[in-house]
Amino acid sequence: MLASLPSALQTLANYRIHNTRASKEVVDKGKVLLDAQAASSLGDDAWAFLEQLTLAAIDVANYEVADECLRQLAAQFPGSPRVDVLSGIRMEATQPPEIALKFYDELLETDSSNAAIYKRRISVLIRIGKIEQAVTELSDYLDTFYTDVEGWVELAELYSSCNQYTSATRALSHALLLAPQNPFYVLQFAETAYTADDIPLAIKMFMLALDIIDRHASEESIPTGVSIRAWYGVKLCCRALSERSCSSASDTLLPKNLPLLDELSTERVLTAYSAAGKDNATGRELVLSWMGPSDRSGGRLHFVR
């Protein structure tokens, strides 16, 4: 078992770097390390490991492991705001939400600059279904901590979950200002704009997402990953634009030469399927029939009344 420790450590470090939420794996591997008291051999990495294991253990409801990690962390860093956050999360797992909210309120009274505590508070509000209050508090929080990109994205998701798609695009535009090179935020913006029925804005953002992705890809390459999704989006917008008149609440101009763009998006999506090989023949055929001239029994799905 000891021979597998280095590889377990490596895996856990990888999860930390990539922010992978593989809680069960983390607890399986981490518990072995904890029992072997291997943390002391990690040096400063030990604390990051214990924090990771605490969160994963709470995730899979292994509170014994979580409490042991917390005990070690609290002994090393008494009064640390970062450990306070972990203690709060542990509290959220088994205590009523009111208790956790009270705990966070008290922490904020002594130190109002702890961004993570604000965010925990907001996440508790979301969990108990107080979405309106969560939106208000998150907006206030972002007034102070404007550069928190994830905060803006979360705000957009809250708005979307309440059918307020125009407010969602407004929140996402802050995320785009702060992280203009992140294709995922652009893609989320595009899909939100489409849902808000601003098709010209949606197609523009789908194409912007592709532009950002393509900066890192060679020309004529096979679309992979997030670009397949974006090409599907372009295709869907082209189709909407050819079927009905689409207004734009944001006064976005349409791209030139839509028919060509329509053709290109079809070709790009199908290329991804062709490259995937013969095993995928039936899936490709289905997509091909969907791509064909508009014979859609389905039609548009209105999320906004």
Partner: protein, 208 residues
């Protein structure tokens, strides 16, 4: 009132989808057919787990799933979803829209919401059926006449075979088949992922 039966493929796919993303909302559609007075829910196609409140990929996925159903000589007969929070069993505005869309093509459409508190117990279907009078009316949890609860004996809803929850729990717990399971969101990032059939996750020995 027609009866509804949920078959093995459909139930396991719903279960695997929810088990793969325990901290996210997931959704998909149900495939089946109506045989005399019974709607047989035979299969399911998993759609989203990323941005479940946004419509474009849902629109495409729904369209492709419908075509896939037709190729199997089935039709879309319903919608399913699991919520992010365990205690949340609301169909949510988006779920209602999608379910209504399905209902436009199939009068007896049903929406199944996973009961997060009960899922994982081997003797409970953990599914809450929602029905609507018409595509434009609102969706309500179905309550049986009398005292029976849905999926109990005597209910209009049943699992076929009845021990599906126990099977699902053991396939997730012992074989972790949910890890081999993929939905349309996964497929959009890697088109080799077989979201329509999910053969890899369904490769256990099926006993009919």
């Amino acid at each position: 009132m027609v009866n509804y039966t949920v078959g093995q493929l459909a139930y396991l796919k719903i279960f695997f989808h929810a088990a793969k993303h325990p901290h996210l909302q997931v959704n998909g559609v149900l495939l089946g057919k109506k045989v005399s007075e019974t709607v047989e829910i035979i299969d399911a196609v998993p759609l989203l787990h990323h941005w479940t409140s946004l419509s474009p990929m849902m629109e495409i996925g729904l369209d492709l799933a419908r075509r896939h159903a037709e190729s199997l000589e089935l039709q879309l007969v319903g919608y399913y979803q699991a919520c992010e929070r365990l205690d949340d069993t609301a169909l949510a505005p988006v779920g209602e829209r999608v379910a209504s869309k399905v209902k436009e093509g199939f009068t007896h459409a049903v929406a199944l919401v996973i009961d997060g508190d009960k899922i994982g117990s081997p003797d409970n279907a953990a599914l809450i059926p929602y029905l609507a009078q018409s595509p434009s009316s609102s969706w309500r949890p179905y309550t049986e006449a009398g005292t029976a609860v849905p999926f109990s004996s005597g209910s209009s809803f049943s699992l076929s075979p009845p021990d599906l929850p126990a099977r699902a729990v053991s396939l997730v717990r012992d074989q972790q088949l949910q890890r081999k399971f993929g939905d349309f969101d996964d497929h959009l990032e890697d088109v080799t992922i077989d979201w329509l059939r999910n053969k890899a996750a369904m490769s256990f020995d099926i006993q009919e």
